[in-house]
């Protein structure tokens, strides 16, 4: 039996009522979707148009859908956590047991960073980058599809843990020795390891892909210093991804060897050293937060210039600042553990490097503000998101610099103050940025705008909810409340936790309004239709093509001679395209192999989690065979004739 099913066992079914609810609810929701697709006979459409697609825009949409669904899951986790702490004071009640609480905060962090943050990021990379640089697609469309399905596989594993076996209780970075066999023999930590490992490889490959795309696929005349700032931010981000993600793979790999093969990389005994893991994981982890936030900086650079109707202030300094942040983000990781007991010199070095990052970041903020200066600012939803960002991110920056001083960090590290700080920068920076980006580029992909009023109201609830949810946490940290507590003794903490829980509910309304905005806009898509392809009077190339953007992006290869090419082309007066400008276009054929590799990776992950060795071997071989099959295929592209391109383009423009 154990040879066949590994350690799979009925005893791993959830026993906690909250988890049972989720474990029943999730398969039911899935069943409902399957039934709906079957009823509407959409399987073929789903397969041909989405699952096997190599079109970056569609892959971007799929990333976006997964990320938004995961935002709901992670948000539900957040609500559970704050409900527990609001009621967890002296004389309160315990909503669910501590082990569940610990799994929930681990899942919350893991999901929000890897499947919401990274998901929205790759969604926007896919949607915007090829269009902004005048490319037909990414450099490696098949790889792109495969990356998405690896990401998807990781996502299923995280959620499968809820139904069977339970998730890790070791925090989102899973410090050993707590996550070693000695203290954590169950499958939870393995779920965490393998979902991140698989999704992480997908992210690494995507990083390579977009780096190559930006380097190799730019339109004629677009040299590096004529690229939109968003593309610059993606370029430095992909460099960070390529350098840092192998470290994640290696650290998780060593941890899994400890757990699967009884090795001693990070155990307390047998010559292992957990401090090594903490260094390695943060050597990835710190660049990771810049991987998330720099594209958001790029988005705001586009948004502010577009909605202020003014050229971005200080293009060169923006580029220099991005590159400076890229380098600095690799020499600050030790600030996550000043309290581990390194010497004063080491702590001071990393502390100073950390605060130095505040300089280029501050410069960016000043540049945005002076882009607004003497502009004509149209406060559409993306611009309102920028205002929310500028407010919250600046507060987060201040508390970040405070914690970069080691002697201060000694008093706030791992307290609620820290929790408030990183939500300040990740919600205020990353999430607000990506929502602004989604709102901004939505019409380009779908052909209609998102409802503006609902978007703005969503941002108001988000920012007010944010303040209510997280400012009390700063106070709690200064009162001595440490993170990850589900109950506490001090009655004075109760009102702060209650206000924080109320804040999470207000954020929940913001999320609901965001979802409502999408649903309502789909319903009203006729009135919100983007007829021009340029709904915001934009500045960059993506607004020069019709909305929704055609599969091949550009009917005629664009030529670029300056920054904000499209803006100046409009000022110079646009010329109608001539018939001889249309050329044959080669586009990559769809292929199911990316999907198949992703699914095989999911099976491989599951097999490793449950120690089903035969299945692990088979699924690994399957991955290799699928990859080889792809390399054998010599006919991966098909050509659209110039006259067809012209016909489709004329239709789209009329």
């Amino acid at each position: 039996m154990s040879a066949l099913l590994g350690r799979l066992d009925w005893s791993y079914l959830p026993s906690d009522p909250v988890t049972i609810g989720a474990a029943i609810g999730m398969p039911l929701a899935l069943l409902f979707i399957v039934a709906a697709v079957t009823y509407y006979k959409k399987w073929k459409y789903l397969w041909k148009e989405w699952i096997i697609t190599t079109d970056a825009k569609k892959i971007g949409v799929m990333y976006g859908i997964v990320a938004i669904v995961m935002l709901l899951r992670g948000g539900a986790d957040a609500l559970m956590l704050r409900a527990a702490t609001a009621l967890g004071g002296p004389g309160g009640t315990q909503l669910f047991d501590t082990d569940t609480f610990q799994q929930v905060f681990t899942a919350h962090g893991t999901i929000m960073i890897f499947f919401v943050g990274m998901g929205l990021m790759f969604a926007l990379f896919n949607i915007a980058v090829p269009l902004m640089i005048g490319a037909r697609d990414v450099a490696f469309p098949f790889l792109n599809s495969m990356s998405f399905w690896l990401f998807f596989a990781g996502m299923i594993l995280v959620n499968a843990a809820l139904i069977f076996g339970g998730f890790s209780n070791g925090g989102w970075l899973g410090y050993p020795p707590l996550t070693e066999l000695q203290y954590n023999p169950g499958p939870g930590v393995d779920y965490w390891i393998w979902s991140l490992q698989i999704a992480g490889i997908g992210s690494l490959l995507s990083g390579v892909n977009f780096f190559a795309t930006i380097i190799k696929c730019r339109a004629k005349g677009m040299n590096l210093m004529k690229m939109p700032i968003f593309v610059w931010s993606v370029l430095v981000t992909t460099v960070l991804i390529m350098i840092s993600f192998p470290m994640l793979t290696a650290s998780l790999g060593m941890l899994s060897l400890d757990r699967l093969a009884g090795m001693h990389f990070f155990t307390s005994d047998g010559g292992g050293n957990p401090m090594m893991y903490i260094n390695l994981i943060w050597a990835w982890g710190h660049p990771e937060v810049y991987i998330l936030v720099m594209p958001a900086f790029g988005i705001f650079s586009e948004v502010v210039a577009t909605f202020a109707k003014k050229r971005l202030f200080g293009y060169k300094t923006m580029v220099i600042a991005l590159i400076a942040i890229m380098f600095l983000s690799f020499v600050v990781w030790q600030h996550h553990f000043f309290t581990m007991g390194a010497g004063a010199n080491v702590n001071a070095f990393f502390g100073i490097m950390t605060m130095v990052i505040a300089i280029p970041t501050g410069v960016k903020l000043f540049n945005w503000i002076f882009t607004m200066y003497k502009g004509r600012i149209d406060f559409k939803a993306p611009m309102v998101w920028f205002m929310c960002f500028a407010l919250t991110f600046t507060i987060g920056g201040v508390t970040g610099v405070l914690m970069s001083i080691p002697a201060i960090d000694f008093q706030v590290h791992n307290s609620m103050f820290l929790v408030a700080h990183f939500h300040n920068v990740i919600i205020g920076g990353v999430l607000f940025g990506y929502i602004a980006g989604l709102t901004y580029w939505f019409p380009k992909i779908f052909g209609f705008r998102l409802h503006d009023g609902l978007g703005r109201w969503s941002s108001y609830f988000w920012v007010v909810g944010f303040m209510l949810a997280f400012l009390p946490l700063y106070a709690l940290g200064l009162m001595g409340a440490v993170r990850r507590l589900d109950h506490y003794d001090d009655p004075a903490w109760i009102p702060f936790f209650v206000v924080s829980a109320v804040g999470v509910i207000v954020i929940g309304i913001g999320v609901a309004l965001f979802v409502l905005q999408i649903v309502y806009s789909v319903w009203k898509r006729k009135t919100l239709k983007d007829t021009t392809g340029d709904p915001w009077d934009g500045r960059t190339l993506e607004w020069s093509v019709p909305s929704p953007a055609p599969h091949y992006n550009f009917a005629i290869d664009p030529v670029v001679s300056r920054i904000d090419e499209w803006w100046y082309q409009k000022q110079d007066g646009l010329q109608a395209p001539r018939a001889e400008d249309y050329k044959d276009i080669a586009v990559t054929k769809n292929t199911p192999l990316g999907f198949m590799i992703g699914m095989a990776a999911f099976v491989l992950g599951g097999a490793l989690i449950w120690h089903i060795w035969w299945l692990a071997i088979i699924s690994f071989i399957a991955i290799v065979l699928f990859a080889i099959a792809r390399t054998m295929d010599d006919f991966t592209e098909h050509t659209i004739a110039a006259k067809d391109v012209m016909r489709m383009d004329m239709e789209a423009r009329s």
């Binding site: 610990q102 401090m275 007991g341 008093q411 001595g480």
Partner: protein, 320 residues
């Protein structure tokens, strides 16, 4: 009429804020901002200084953000043609200004960080006419063991100390990584298996302060709390006298019971084995696998980093 509405609005917001402030703050005690020890006081002052210094940049940023977005909003009817300059996009002087000002402030903070990293180094002993009290700390699942090797006492989850006397902690663990933190006294530090960290703190006056672990270490994490009792010298001596006569003995058998995962109440013990701490630290350096982790190995000693490395080297050779 419109003006009144604004005034009433602002007044309402203020009332709500004051009410909320009262609701939140009655009974609140900010251990970090209202500390009871010299180290924590210096850290509090540093926190305030750095916040004020940064407000030099942050306040203008907020002012400009609000002002520009109001003045240059597209719906503003009063804007003149000269207020819209769509092509104005660089100014060496301005850009130099906002590389420069943050750089100066960060420069000042950097000097502060360097100086205070050394002056508040947890390993640095506190100058005093009185000799420091030695306390060894072991984080267990999920309780704190405090050993007073010179006084022949061990305690669990309670930490009586004399006021106005430096305390020298040596900190280790026999559990997943934990962290020792008394916010009212200052500086937290990780407690790790097989390793000894050091920490120097002092209580300026008598009182009862809460201590925590800040690093997740398993199911009992939230209950792994302890109390510091800062006593006058007289009271402390009296406590030492009673504790040394305690019928509870801290020996290998007691320790074996303690090390098993559980929550614990405050207890005092008479310390039988004064090298208990050294043995706890040493057991990770010498055992090859988790199975033997409940046996204290003999002849252990406190290891500094270099010693630890060489020890690891030795048994990695043994492993081959």
């Amino acid at each position: 009429m419109k003006k009144y509405r604004v005034v009433i609005g602002v007044a309402c917001v203020l009332v709500v804020l004051v009410a909320m402030g009262y609701f939140l703050l009655r009974g609140a005690h900010f251990d970090v901002l209202q500390p009871a020890g010299d180290i924590a006081k210096q850290q509090r002052n540093l926190l305030i200084f750095a916040t004020l210094l940064m407000s030099v940049v942050v306040i203008p940023v907020f002012v400009m953000l609000g002002w520009f977005s109001w003045k240059y909003r597209a719906s503003n009817k009063n804007t003149k043609q000269k207020d819209y300059k769509p092509e104005w996009h660089e100014s060496k002087r301005l850009e130099l200004l906002w590389w420069g000002i943050p750089a100066v402030i960060v420069g000042a903070l950097a000097v502060t960080a360097w100086v205070t990293s050394h002056s508040l180094d947890p390993y640095k002993s506190i100058a005093s006419s009185k000799p420091a009290v030695e306390i060894q700390v072991v984080a267990l699942q999920w309780k704190w063991l405090f050993i007073y090797p010179d006084l022949g006492i061990a305690t669990v989850n309670k930490l009586p100390v004399p006021e106005k006397t430096p305390i020298h902690f040596t900190i280790s663990a026999d559990a997943p990584m934990s962290a020792f933190w008394v916010p009212a006294l200052g500086t937290q530090i990780y407690a790790m298996n097989g390793m000894s960290s050091q920490l120097n703190l002092i209580a300026d006056h008598t009182g009862e302060f809460s201590g925590y672990t800040t690093n997740i270490n398993g199911e009992g994490y939230a209950d792994m709390k302890f109390k510091v009792y800062a006593k006058t010298e007289k009271e402390f001596d009296a406590w030492v006298k009673t504790a040394t006569q305690s019928a509870n003995l801290m020996n290998e058998a007691t320790y074996a019971r303690l090390v098993a995962p559980s929550k614990a109440e405050e207890t005092s013990y008479r310390l039988v084995d004064t090298s208990l701490y050294q043995k706890i630290v040493a057991k990770y350096g010498h055992s090859m696998s988790g199975e033997s982790s409940n046996h204290i190995m003999p002849n252990g000693s406190v290891m500094d980093d270099s010693k630890l490395e060489s020890d690891e080297h030795v048994h990695s050779m043994e492993g081959m």
